[in-house]
């Protein structure tokens, strides 16, 4: 089973998914991400899905749940890098990414995290 690496950048956790994941790999990622949040007091998480050609309802649920779980643990989550085809398909499926900030790129995701966690 491929383990998607979890990196730390500017005190935030960054996950870059380079290919379609099996359900088990997705669940494992969620688990490891939350574990990491307990060990590293991180202010935010960016999940980069630009390597994914297909994002279905199941994976959407994993993303939404992960964001909600991270929030309970004190971290905001940004899901970034959906390509145009995936974005259009998800809306046609009627899926909503409630509670998840979605953005264009890793850079933008980090920018957003900075803006929501700053005290100004």
């Amino acid at each position: 089973m491929a383990e998607v690496p979890i990196l730390e950048l500017e005190g935030r956790l960054v996950v870059s998914i380079q290919e379609d994941l099996t359900d088990r790999e997705a669940e494992d990622l969620q688990h490891r991400l939350l574990e990491r949040l307990t060990r590293v007091r991180s202010s935010g998480v960016v999940i980069d899905v630009s390597g994914m050609d297909v994002v279905d309802s199941y994976f959407c649920r994993i993303l939404r749940d992960t964001a909600a779980m991270s929030r309970l643990m004190g971290a905001h989550t940004a899901v970034v890098g959906m390509n145009a085809a995936v974005a259009v398909t998800l809306t046609e499926l009627g899926l909503e990414m409630v509670g998840v900030h979605t953005d264009l790129s890793l850079e933008r995701g980090l920018q957003w995290l900075r803006s929501v966690t700053s005290d100004a």
């Binding site: 970034v80 959906m82 390509n83 145009a84 085809a85 995936v86 974005a87 259009v88 998800l90 809306t91 046609e92 909503e96 990414m97 979605t102 953005d103 264009l104 790129s105 933008r108």
Partner: protein, 288 residues
């Protein structure tokens, strides 16, 4: 075209055998041909490795010989067609290919005159060569006609798609999409797909969709617009709807349509002002 067959008469097959025999025996012609080709064709087409080029030329040659034996050059010309198609796909011009093909003639004819003693056989071999070159040129013409056609058709379709959904970059990170005419589900799909591509391409943060030119805005149209706004949101762009006339406002409320949290304004100016403000711009007027 591809199923064209090249069966040979006995005379022609014999002529090609003479030609092949002359070229096979003494391979000095390979160097002069390579010089001619390197002069006319870009390096990507001629392998820099001379041995590799020699091998592939020899292979092609063997195929020619086998074809002559069978009195059928269909397989040989099929490979020629494939090679020419590769060059066409690599954007080589037809003129380049034509020039290269004609430039092959001189070095090979010179070689034939040297190695073939019998004048009649010389003439036969040159005829065979001309036949091969001529057929290759005809194939090149055909390939370019279809290849270009496909390319032109694809580019055309792409251009039409883009023109149907004219997204304008009005400021850094602000795009405007003016919609004119009826929005049915097909048009809505195309619009959403095109818009999303442009948002991602130009990294827009705000997209102002102007519906002034849309005659009817009912539940279906509102649903399309809402879906488009949601898709834009998934890639980090906020959609603002402008051009809401009093009639449209009344219809939407009476139908109980909700546009969610999509900002709406009656005019472009307001939409633009809000877009700029959202991105942190302050507009200041200096008295002239």
């Amino acid at each position: 075209m591809e199923s064209q067959s090249f069966t040979l008469s006995e005379d022609r097959a014999a002529a090609i055998r003479i030609l092949a025999g002359a070229l096979r025996g003494d391979e000095s012609w390979l160097t002069s041909v390579r010089t001619a080709l390197t002069r006319d064709l870009p390096p990507e087409v001629i392998p820099t490795d001379e041995a590799e080029w020699t091998d592939s030329t020899r292979e092609s040659f063997e195929r020619l010989l086998a074809g002559a034996e069978d009195r059928d050059l269909t397989a040989y010309f099929r490979t020629q067609r494939e090679r020419i198609a590769e060059m066409a796909a690599a954007d080589l011009s037809l003129r380049t290919i034509t020039r290269a093909t004609s430039d092959l003639r001189d070095p090979i004819v010179a070689h034939l005159r040297t190695v073939i003693a019998d004048i009649a056989d010389q003439r036969t071999a040159v005829d065979a060569l001309d036949y091969l070159l001529r057929e290759s040129l005809i194939i090149a013409g055909e390939v370019y006609a279809t290849e270009r056609e496909d390319k032109v058709e694809d580019e055309f379709r792409l251009a039409i798609r883009r023109l149907s959904t004219p997204v304008i970059q009005v400021w850094d990170e602000i795009q405007v999409l003016p919609l004119v005419g009826v929005i049915d589900s097909t048009r809505a799909k195309q619009m959403t797909e095109q818009l999303l591509e442009r948002i991602v391409e130009e990294q827009a943060r705000v997209v102002i969709i102007d519906i002034t030119g849309v005659p009817t805005v009912d539940t279906a149209v509102a649903d399309h617009l809402l879906k488009t706004a949601k898709a834009a949101g998934l890639v980090g762009a906020r959609a603002i709807l402008v051009g809401i006339s009093p009639q449209v406002a009344q219809t939407l409320v009476r139908l109980g349509v909700s546009l969610g949290d999509v900002e709406t304004y009656s005019d472009m100016r307001s939409g633009l002002e809000h877009a700029l403000r959202q991105l942190g711009y302050v507009i200041e007027r200096r008295v002239v």
